[in-house]
Structures are given as C-alpha cells and as structure tokens.
Symmetry: D2
Subunit: 487 residues, 4 copies
C-alpha cells in the first residue's frame, strides 16, 4: 500500500494486497469502475483489470500492469469495455511467485460455464488454496494462473447447480480464509464477505444503479451514496430490476474485522464500521500520548502515514506539531549511487529533514508501525545528522510479531523485528532515546472498545500483533509454519 | 510547480519555471547532478537535461522530456555522461510556444567557440530577449531554439574576449531581467545571479568538490554542506584547483529577491536568505490568524501547499488543526467522465473530503494563493456537499493581481481574479462565508521585516501583488503590456 | 503469409496460419527454436510463443505479438527460457475472433496435469472444435483462449491414461480436421500429423539432439540434417536417450497433402514430399506455357511470389524474362492519401512499374493465384498507365473457388472471384487482353503426377480448387456452409 | 542502401548516404514529401526529416530516427506539418561520428535569417567542410550538428545578399565537393546540383505544382510526371506563380555523374541520364558474359542486387537462370548464437541455399560488387555445403579499390579487398573456381559509351574504381589521405 498518507518506505511496511469494485445499472459501467479502482489504488499498485458485460457485445476484459490512471483512461481501451455491468480489481502481488507475476495472474478471472459466463475478483487469501488446487488438477481442471482465487471459478465450473449464484455458494463453502469477493454474471452483480468479515466491502447507490467497493472512498469518487457494509458471511446478489437480495450461505460466526485496516491499510477518508478512519488514527495518537508521554519540543510525523496519530499526540500532549521531515513526492528508487560519499542515499531520495527546524530540538517521531525496523534506523540517523538533541519514537500500532495470511504481504516471522526483540531491545537496536508502541488494549480503545481487548472474544482479527489466528492457515501449516503455543 | 507541499490544482497556480544544478570536482559528476535535479523537480517537470565534460570524452549531453527519475537513472544513459564536471536543468515551459516545446528547447545549451565549448543553463527570464534575438539574427547567428536563454550563448560566441568567463561577462552585460545562471567550460563551473538576485542560487561543498543549486534541498540530497548564497550580481568561477573566484560584473543595485519563493515555489525544507521556508510559511499562518481571526471548529489545509500556514493558524488561534481534505496521490487528469451524474469529477480525482469529520462543522480552509479562483469554488462545493456548517477561506498570500515576467508562468492579467474584483467580490464569487488574504505588510512581517514593507525601498520583488516591477519588462511593453500607473 | 517470394498484396491472398518448431537434446534449446521460428515466419507473422523446460527451472514460456526477430533475440528474454527442450509456434490469426486476438490465444498452450505439465502447439484447424468445446465446458473445463487447439489440452487433462503420450493419443482420437502438432512433456518432444497429412512436419538431427519443423527450411537455419517427414497419421515421441519412437494412433487412410503448400505457402527453398518447392513452381510455369501460350515481348512476374513460375514460363516459351514490376521492400500500408490526384496509391506504396522497360511492350504477367481479383485489376491499371501495348495474365494455380477449413485464412465463398465467374468473365472484369489459369491436371503434372489428377483417388487436398473436402467441416456445416453438390 | 534489389550483406557494401525530396504548389505538401521519401528510403534508412511552410503556421519540422513508414504516416504528426511547400530528407549516417548520430544531425536544417527562414537538405559530401566549419566558428557561428551540410546554412546566414536565392549562391560558391541540394524559403522551392553533377536530382510536375527528387521513382509514387534532370551546376528556383527559373552560379565544368548509381545505388525502376537503371544492369550482365564466359549449369544471382545482371548473363550465355539462393525477408541481425554448432549463422539468418536445386551443379553466382570480400567467402561456403560441383563468381562492377568522398560510406582504403590483391589473389582468397569482374571499359559500354572509357575525358566519376578523383578531397588530404600517384 502506497498512497493515502502512506509511508515512503513501503518496503518496510505490511502491504494490503487487493481492492475490488463493481457497478450495475449505469451506462458505461467500466468508466465508473475505473474511477472506483483509482480511489482504491492504495490497496494494490501492481496491476488492474476490468471485466464488463453488454447484452450485444458479451463479456469483455482488459488487464494491465501499472496504475489505473495510465491504463484505464484511454478512450480506445474503455470503448472495448461496453455495458451497464462491470467489475474491477487492483492488486499487489498475492500468492503467485513474487516478482514474476504474469498478466494471466491479474484479476478478475473469467470462465465460461454451461449456463453462461462469470467473472470473479477477490480481496483476501484462501488458506486452503494449495490443497484445493491439487484436488482440482487431479480431476482435469487446467489452471491459467498461480492465483489462489482461480480455485473459486473452477469450483463454480464443476458445480451442478443451475444458476451462477448457487454455483458460487457451492464454491464458497469449499474455501477457507479471508475473502471479499465481487463477481458478475451476465445480469447480476454479486458481493460476498467471508464469515469473519476480515476484509471490508461496502454497498453504494448511484442513480438507478448500485456499486460495491472495498472502501467508502470508492463510492465518494463516483458520487455514490454509502448504503451499508456487506455483512460478514453475507452474499448479496444485485439485479437491475430486483435490487439487492441477501443470502447467508455460511455457518454464522462472530466477526473478526482486520484491525490493521484501521491502523494503516484503509484510506483516512474512508468509513469503517461506522467510524472515520482518520479520526480513529488521531485517537490512536491521543491514546499513545496518554500511555507513553515524554517531554519534548516538537511532535513530527514520519510522513505521510504517521500524520493523523502525530496530530492526536500533539493535541493530547500540548507539544507543538511540526513538519520536521519532508517527503519528496517524485520518488524514484533506482538512482545510481554516485559514490560512497552519500550515506543513506535511498532515504534522501524520499525524505529530507527540515534542518533549520530540527536543529537542537528534542523531537518525538510518530510512525504507524515497525516491521523490520531498518527504516526506523535510517530516519533516526537523518534526524541526528540534522542536529536533533533527542529522538523519541512513538508507534501507532502494537509490535508486529506475526505474519498475516489473510491477504496481506508480510515478511517471514524471522524477519519481523518484534518477533525477535523486546521493546527495550528494539529501542537500543534502532538507537533512539525512547521507543514506545501503543498497547493492544490502547488500540482497541482507539477503535471504540472502551474496555480494551476482550481476550476471550476479541472483536477484531489482530493476529499480526497477537498470534491469535481466527482461521487456521492450513496450507502454511502443511509447509511448516508453527502457530503460537497455547498459553 | 507540483510537489513539495504542492497544490493539486496546479493549473490554477503560478508555476516556477526552472531549476539549475552543477557540480565540479567529484567523479561521475552527472550522477550527482541527476540527484540534485531530482531534488529540484518541483521547479520544472516538463523536461530536463545534463551536460558533462571529461578530458578524454569531451562534452556530452542528454536532454529528455519527463521526470529526472525516469530519464537519468538508467546506467546506459548515465554512462554517456562521464567526467568530474557537469551541469543540469529542469524546466517547465518558458518563453517558447506553450505546449509544443521541442527537445531543442531543453537546456542546457551548448556552443562550440574558437577557444573551446561552453554549456549554459538558467532559471529566470530575460526581459529583452526578443530585441536581442532580432539583433543577433541580423548579424547571421542561427538560433536552435525558441528559448531566450540561447541569446546568452550567441552573445558569448561573438565576444572577442580570450576566455569564457570574460565572454560570459560580455554577454551578461547585454541582458536584462531575472536570471540565475549555471554554466561550465572544460575546466570551470560558473554561477551568476542577476543584479537584483530575483531567483535563488546557492553554493555547497562536497568532499573536494563544489556544487551550485537553485535551493539548499539540492545540496542536502547529495550530502553537500551549504556554504553560502551566490550574491545578487555576483559571478563565481569555480575551478578544481583554485576554488571559488568571485566577480561583480554588473553595476551594484539593491537586491529584490522574489517573495513568492517563500510563499510557494521553494521547497519547505530549503533555507532562503537564512530562513527556513517551512517556518516562514507557518509564520504566515500566525500573521493571518492575527489579521483575520474567525470563530470556527476546525482549521484544515488545502493539501498540500496550505499545510504549514494552516498549522500556524491553528497554533495562533487555538482552533484544532485537522485533515478535512485528503489528497489522492495517484493523480490523473484524463479519466473519461462517465456521465453528468458525477459533479466536479475533476476535483474528486484529486481530493476527497473527510466526510465523517467535516459534517456539521465550521471549517477554516487555508490555501496558499488564489489565481483564477476556479479551484476555490470547487473545493467550497465539496466541503458544503459534505455537510460543513460554514466555510471560511484564509489565503497565505496577498491577492495576485499582476503577472510575473521573471521566470514564472502566470495567466494574462485579465484572467487573474484579483485583477478584476475586490476581496468582498471574490468572497461572493467563490461563495464562502468569509475570505481573507494576508496583507502585503503581514507577509513582509512573516519573512522577517518587522516593520512591514517599506514602499520606498521594498526588500523583495512583489510585483505579482503590487504591480511594482523592479526591471521594466521591455519586450512585453513593446507587445502592449500596460504597467501600473504611477500613484 | 508474407515473405519468401511472397506477394505484396497478401490481403488478397490465402494465408497460411501457423508454423511449429521443436528441439530436444541441445543446450539452450529455446535459441534454436527462435531461429527455427524465424525461418518459418512466413507461416504466421502476428505472434509467436516459446515454451521451454529445464529440470531445475521447470516450464517457462514467453508469448509475444510481432516478429520473432523483435521478440526472441533479446538476451534477457531468452535467459527466461532455459533448458534443452523447447517448442515454439508462429501464428497468423486462427479461429479466434479476427482482429482482436488476445495474447492468451497465442500458442503454445500449457497445462499442468496430475502427472506433470505439457505444452502443445499446432498448425491446422480442428473441424469439430466448436462441438468439442461445448462438451468440455459442460463438464466444467474452463477455456483460456478462443483457439480451437486448446481443446487438445483439455482432452489430455481429462484422460485417465497414466502418461502424457497416451493422454495425447486419447485426445487426438477425439479431434477431426487438419493438424500438425508439436508438443512437449518434461522429458519428451512429440510430433503428430493428422491421418491425411494435410499440413507438413519434418524431423531433423542436430548434433546429439533432434528437431521438428513445419518445413525443411527451419532445419537448414539451425544446421540440422533433414531425416524424414513425420508420416500422415504418425505420432513420434522423441527422448534424449531412446531417440524416436513411432506410433500410429489413428485408423490408416490415404494421405491428402495440401497442394497449395506447393503453390504458395511453403518457402521455395523447402523440400516437400521429396521435391524442391522452387522447382515445382518453375515447372508450373512450364506447364502453363504449354497449356496457354501467347505471343508477347516480355514475361514478367508479379513479385515476388510469381517469380519461379515466370522463369519457367519464359524458359518454355522462349520469351525473355524481365523485371517489369519492382517491389518496394519498405512497405507500409498507412500513409495518408495526400489528395485524389494519386490514383492507386495503395499499389504505388508497394510496387512500381519499370516504365522505361514496359513502354510499348506486349507483357505476360505471371501471378500465383487470384482470390478476390481486386489486386489484379490494380496491377493491370499500373501496367497500362506505363504504356504497355498488351497485358496477358497467367495464373500459376487453378481458380480458387472454395474456402479452406484446414488452417488457412480464406474469404467467404461469396467473395472468391472464381466462385462467381467463369474464366472469360474474370478476364473481362479484370480488363486484360487474356487471362488463363493452369488446369488442375496441369498442376498435378507439375507436382509430379504425370497422369494428372485421379478423380477417384486424388493424391492431394485440393478442396480450394475442387470443392472436394477430404474431412467434412462439421462445425461449418452446422453454421450453414453448403458443400458442393455431388456431381 | 538496403532495399531495391539490394544485397543482404549491406555491411559489406558501399552505402549511399542520402535522398532528398521537395514539393511546392500542392496542398498538404508534407504528405507528398513523405511518399517521395518512402520511395527513396533505399538511399538512407537511419533517419528522416520534413520541413513544411504554411503562410499562417510558418515553418514546422519533424525529424525522426527510423523508417518513413513508421514516422511520417501518423495523422497527428502529419497535421503538425501544414502547407503547400515542403522538403524532406532521408539519411544514412554521413560525416558525423558514426553510430552516435544525434537527432540534431538529421536534416533538413533550418535557419532564421533577417529576411525570413530557410531550410536546406542535401545529398552528397562537402570536401572542404572541416575548413569551413573552423572558419565559421571563429567568427561566432554556433553549430547545432556535426553534419557538414550545416555549413551551407551558416554561410547563407552571413551573406549580405538581400534574398535567399542570392544568399544560397553566395554560400555555394564557398563549398567544394558533391552535392544535390533541395532547399525552401517561405515561397520558393530551390534545387541545386554541384558543377560535376555527381549526385542525381530530377524535376517533376504534379498538377499545378512541382516536385524535386533524387530519383524518378520518387516522382512515380506521387503520380508526378518526370520533366527533366536538374543540370550539373544548375540552380532552379521554383515559385508557385512564376514556375521554374534557372541559374548557373558556378563556373561551368564537364559533368562527371557517379557511375556507381547505375551499378547499385539507384533503384532499378529509376531513369538516370535517360536510361533505365534495370536495363543498364541487365546490359552489364550481357557484357560480363561476353568478357568472362564460363561453362556451367546455372546462373544464380546473389539476391537481390545481383538479379538484373544475372538475367543479362543468362540471356547472353544461354545458361539457365535460377534462384539458387533464397533471401529471408524477415531479417534480423541480433539472434543469439545458440552454440558453435551453427556455422555461418549470420548468413543463414538472411540467406538459404536451394539445396535440392544446387546439388551437383556447376553454378555461376552474379553479384554487384566486392568490397571487403568477407561475404563472398561465406556465400561460397554455403553453396559448397549444399553440394555444388563448381562455383564461379561474376561481379557486375570493376574492383572497388578506392574510397568515395562524395557522399558514400566506404571503408578505409586498407580494408578494400581490391586495394590489396590482384583478381587471381582475390579468387584464391575467396576460394572459388573462378572470379571475374567486369572491366571499366565494359561498364562504360553498358552505360552506353560504345567506345568504353575515354581516359582523357571520362564521362563519369569512377574514382572508387580508378582512383581518379574529379574534386580533390581537401579535408581528407589534410588528414593524411594519399591520392593515387600520377602515372
């Protein structure tokens, strides 16, 4: 995830892996989908695809590497995607072999079935995809891609149900994991969230039509009215004439929405679970200032993702907020290092310290999270080089100690700093005067759980902090991943 | 100018037109120049060029349209630019016919003279370029470009002086206007500022070598130490062995540095005239809160350029600072408008209101300037659509009522809102509850002139606000421009 | 088909649709395959693909639009195709929707089966592909492409045989039509020709390895020795250690090789059925001069495909051979027509008449075939404009009156000139002094059948001339195509 | 030069370096110029440029690397070149540093003068360009390019004449060498040939307008009527209203047209000096068969440039003409050599022997010229590998023993095979049964001089064969070139 109040060192961040969007009942639906995908670009920058359907032209699709703004704005391309029904997908790289994603791995996936075609896109990760794929290949299915979401469409193709929504239900009952699916037939737009509701998915109304989007910011850009979230475990089937039909194909379970969407993944102008994401993040800063106060001259965000929490920290502490680090918005990673004379050139390409401001000051730096910790060290170096008197890190999330298997790209556990060190050890390794993370209870308070986290029935998926995985990652366990020992 | 705390509607902003950078005495100088240009990218995004010199390979150059990060990072390209001496230039479009800049208009310009070659790049605008060009053509000079800076190199070619620095002096004594020049011979790096010092130019030390840069942020990125500014009217000739020699070829005049560099053009992390640009902008917000207070719930910047002044306004007024408008960092201007259902789509592509935050609130919006005013209207619409109770605009510069002829791209006078309306008329036209600009005296106070502007000897060039042009724009007057009548 | 002695108006020609090539037992097999594909480029210019296998790297593939020389010569691309076993394919557009071929339609196709992967490429056309596809979809297969050859790989995926060659046999027994298949498993190179042997396929020996190629010219370019043709109805399975194993999975039938390969499709330097293609074409000219003599001053080929027959015609008739029409080898189809002043500009871009030579002469023009006839008219106009006294057309094939359904792109029957007119009517419509086609018997004599065509057991597929289809085109009949009535 | 009956090993050929074209008096003149340049593409493939003039839009230009068909066919590009007057140029690389031609070296060159602009393009080479350039730089001219033709435009800029044709005369009186110039002012099209008329230039009539072209084939493609050649030493000034005015600004000398234009450079469908180029080449074959007969089975051209002479040789000798070598029209030079197993791969990419035809035969190969001789050896190897019994080379030009300094790219003298060996030594070095070149007298007979070459007053420039340079190459002599000693 890169943009919205994003962090310049996203190499050293967890990465959301997908955004989905769909529209029915408006002419030139693909143009709306392109806009929605643009608004969701922070959820995946590697590639994007759109499938549309028109009664005369049938299904059409375009899949491209790169940004939506570069691929889906050309009238020639958009003219190949006619119709009043379309879905789209933006992706980071998911399960497929890293770094070598082929265009065939770009969603939505399309399949022709006996009773007509369907296209499917999803955000999340199927935790039993490897086992399913093995079974399907044995029966003669041929996979186009290395993406686990292709399993869904093969399961649908082999279902003996008479219509596609029923085939979808058949298919989804076989999969495990986290998934927000947007799909389409020739006449219907379909949205599904897994029983835990790990990833977001919302419904909007636009004119006489309807939209589905990973986040509300996708509705805003097309001028759609936010109606409600798709509920955890719900499948909505939307038809131009009959409107929304709601089904609950799964066994009902307590929801566990991803708490990291509040911390970092979602856009600050989106509304999650009825709360402004920006306001939640500012509140994290308030909680952090209460939990971990420190005497200092300035509160500076690590731009841009640390900004809302830094504002909250400043307001709670009374210490002035200031832009001590300036981000270069023309980023580039591939400059040739001229000589060893330039230390930390990678950092300098992206950030510069406001030297005249920082010199001689005691500075509190607010960042959203620490993953490997390498970036934190470089930022500390820059601040000290500029003459800061003291540097205090305050982190707007608890220590990230466990990988996510639900649609987020995380390093292996061994590479997570917090999996290997205590808070004090991390402070010393980074080399700052103090380092404090918000507590898990503090984070729950900031998202509105006044009593903090209920260890017996936590309201959120917080596995990356707690190691408490609400769905067993069965493929990973088969590959040797060790779950946290029961305490 | 687009980036650093830039404004998403730069169509409706004044635009800086160039940045210059040069390095001598470090191996692979072109790599350093590329980094410096990257740091100065906000001063010109259309194109860039580098000329380098190596005793064995002679002069080499590369000129490209587009960003530095896309053009000057490829090892194959950079290998064509060997040597320990190089200069570079980033440009927006200057005098040349708008929208049809040919690559031949991209600087630096190079000419071979009887005693060896020289390359020249400049930031600014020659106000007598048309007359000079006419004269040179009559004598048989053939121009390669439509850029006025090419005059300098032809004047040098025709000088009968025996060395290039002397020829440069000959040439510069013929030109009028605003210019910060970076030039090079086979062995020397040369920097010049016009007698008024309208555009910035600074000197840095890197290892055993030296650098020249439009702003200090260009020194920071290569790890160079900021030594001093080139003085108004000074020519520095830098040699690997002899260091800096200083000349003053022009008649000495009182300096008039561009005050808009403080307001908007320069990067907030640069130091101009000994002052942090960020701090000056924050101080403008403080002054503005004193001059034009208003009762409200939130102070929100128009991102990103209004941010420092909004912070200052909040700190002075005590009204909480908040991110009421979120900027989409994946901008794109060319999406196809799906239907008339989407009002203000152009705005939505770039900005989204934080609806949950704004609803029902009295909001102060702080922006850096108002040029045509069209953007201000659209932003007001978005804020009201999101349910704001009141909208108050506070502008961190005085009304922009006059075009700039010193290297900034300004609309014709007739298109400047402030040239045609009073502050109250502008408020009504934009449609907000209140609108206030900082006074010219307030702006001078923010840049450190405690007594405000001295009308008899103003310290800055503020022609865009005052109509007081320190150098008569002779080409423009010939074309019919009418100066402000003496009062 | 464009190159080798090709015709500049290939829009008005039948077009071969594919070439296949494979190599086993040589290191960097993909480089050899690229060369073979380059030699077969005349069989398909739209796109090409290579799949290779290496024990460590597994299967890899690259598929690209455009020429082999542009796509498969870059070391970076070729490095992604390691291994000693590879197959390749060049294609014109086959069954897929014309003009909108997606990259997913580009062969070879690859599928992962329970016992390992296989890749398949073919030259030809399955006449029951639509019916097979329908059946497979009903059973849950999901097609990636609109290419009929994908049926083969789905049939293989569903076979319950234990190894891939056996699965291939299962699959091929279900398909009808013309096909020369080149396929590969992890350890074997496989070649198959349909029972009639409509399309060519030859075996070569290169060092310790083996090659399969559509034509012998593909062996020449890699320095391989031509061993023999794959026989009609034969499947060869080639293994690095065991060499060639031969199978005959189909019921044996009398062979019917495509006679048009001799006339136009194959390269003149290839050897088909033991005969030099060039020599056969020259012999057609000899037969034509016997069948349809005419008094004239010059024999000129329509370049380049008419050249060998024109040489033969000249040699038999004693009328001097001359280059009366010169071909522009820098073709381009998209020049802007400057004004109506230029008649026949499309022709002029490709051909120019040797005016000084033609003026006042009686000219015999030898062309390879007449499809729509539009080109013949334009060439006649050019020759007359240049002052020829008489123009006589001699055509090196019989009238093309029926479409081909075996892997050749032919216009609908209604657009074939010979389907609608007698030879005399065609002469008048084209507007020449005389027009004669070689007889079908004459053509058989030229390919070595001294007694001409045996109507009871013709040795070749000549359906495009005779309407005698050796395999019923069942998909086409279902779509309404009417076969020739029995006589 | 590559195309028209060109030779596949143009690396081993002399290369024509430019073609020029101009049109006045037809709307959208640039479209005609693009067509003319396309017809002249064989004279230069590296780059091309067009300058047009329109009374409202002034001068416009576009200069591009690559083929005309790729650069000047796009409506957007062509729309930038309005007007009824335009000139164009195709170029190989001339004097500029080989292999690194910058776009600034691409003609036409344009200069703005006091009385209006002019554009100039030329075909040829100025033999005193280096001296002129030195002198002009000393006086303050700044060169844009490394092309010697830029001297002409600087000389014009410095002339004190009142109109451009007079300035052109002033300029041309200072230059030496071979040049066919096409130039334009705002209202006139100008054509000039040097006093010897070394390079061709012809005049055509198109509707109410006029055209200038290097060869008549450029007139044919736009449907223009061939009027006459520009005479050696003539300057024509063409005006829409006044038609052609003719001037003779130079001292009159006996003409010396380049004889190699007949042998190889010009297109076979062009008319030079009233003669069909094709017919001249065929006649060279006739003369060669008389001068150097040999008993054999087949006469085969080295395609394509040897074809007309091979036809003539066959007709004179009675030995059958055959296509023993087939050229691959999808050339590519950069395939990766798979292994050392492939001998002569470079040759195989371009040519293949018609093995079935050649085997056991005594073969006469007719080629147009021998430069370094390396290609001849490779071709001999291929023919022998294919089983030829004997190989006899017959060359349609005399031994090339001297470099050309008049606009043709020739290797240094030391690399010319014929500069170092006798005919017998060359035969042994190439390794063929016999090798014979046409005599210089025979060549003169073929171009119509029944008495052969008059050594006292040769009608053609034949310096590359004879070492008799009609204009002293003064720059080269200064650089050390040694002329042939007087005999």
């Amino acid at each position: 995830m890169r943009p919205f109040l994003s962090h310049p060192f996203d190499d050293d961040k967890l990465k959301e892996e997908c955004g989905v969007f769909g529209v029915i009942g408006v002419s030139d639906a693909a143009n709306f989908v392109a806009l929605g995908m643009h608004a969701l670009q922070h959820r995946g920058q590697e590639a994007g695809g759109i499938v549309s359907h028109d009664p005369e032209q049938g299904f059409n699709s375009a899949r491209r590497f790169g940004y939506v703004r570069d691929n889906f704005t050309d009238p020639d391309t958009m003219a190949t995607l006619p119709g009043a029904l379309a879905i789209g997908h933006v992706r980071y790289s998911t399960a497929g072999s890293k770094g070598s994603t082929a265009i065939r791995d770009v969603q939505p996936f399309f399949g022709e079935f006996a009773m007509g075609g369907a296209a499917v896109a999803h955000n999340g990760n199927l935790t039993n995809a490897a086992a399913l794929r093995r079974e399907l290949i044995e029966r003669g299915s041929i996979f186009q891609s290395s993406s686990d979401s292709e399993c869904i469409i093969h399961l649908m193709a082999r279902s003996i149900q008479k219509n596609i929504p029923e085939r979808m239900k058949d298919a989804l009952r076989r999969v495990e994991g986290a998934f927000s699916v947007v799909a389409m037939t020739r006449t219907k737009l379909i949205g599904v969230r897994d029983p835990l509701g790990v990833r977001p998915l919302v419904i909007g109304r636009i004119g006489e039509g309807w939209a589905l989007s990973s986040e509300t910011c996708g509705l805003d850009i097309i001028g759609a009215e936010f109606i409600r979230e798709v509920e955890p475990g719900e499948m909505v089937v939307i038809d131009e004439t009959r409107g929304i039909e709601s089904f609950h194909p799964f066994e009902r379970r307590a929801a566990r929405f991803c708490i990291f969407e509040h911390v970092y993944f979602s856009r600050p102008d989106s509304i999650l679970g009825g709360r402004s994401v920006y306001e939640t993040r500012r509140q994290i800063g308030v909680e952090l200032a209460k939990e971990a106060p420190v005497d200092a001259d300035l509160v500076c965000p690590v731009p841009d993702s640390g900004t809302p929490a830094a504002i909250g920290f400043s307001q709670q502490s009374g210490i002035p907020y200031a832009m001590g680090i300036i981000r270069n918005q023309y980023m580039g990673r591939t400059f040739i290092e001229p000589t060893e004379q330039i230390r930390n050139m990678g950092v300098r390409l992206k950030l510069n310290v406001n030297r005249a401001l920082i010199k001689g000051k005691r500075v509190i730096l607010v960042d959203d999270s620490v993953v490997r910790g390498t970036t934190s060290r470089k930022i500390k170096d820059m601040i000290l080089d500029a003459g800061a008197a003291e540097v205090h890190f305050r982190i707007a999330s608890p220590p990230t100690a466990w990988p996510c298997f639900y649609g987020v790209d995380t390093p292996e556990r061994g590479k997570l700093l917090a999996a290997n060190m205590s808070e004090d050890e991390m402070r010393d390794w980074i080399g700052v005067d103090s380092l404090r993370f918000i507590s898990l209870d503090g984070l729950y308070r900031a998202v509105g759980e006044a009593g903090g986290r209920d260890p017996n029935a936590p309201r959120y998926c917080d596995a990356c902090f707690s190691g408490d995985y609400p769905v067993a990652p069965s493929d990973k366990i088969e590959q040797g991943f060790e779950m946290k020992a029961a305490e």
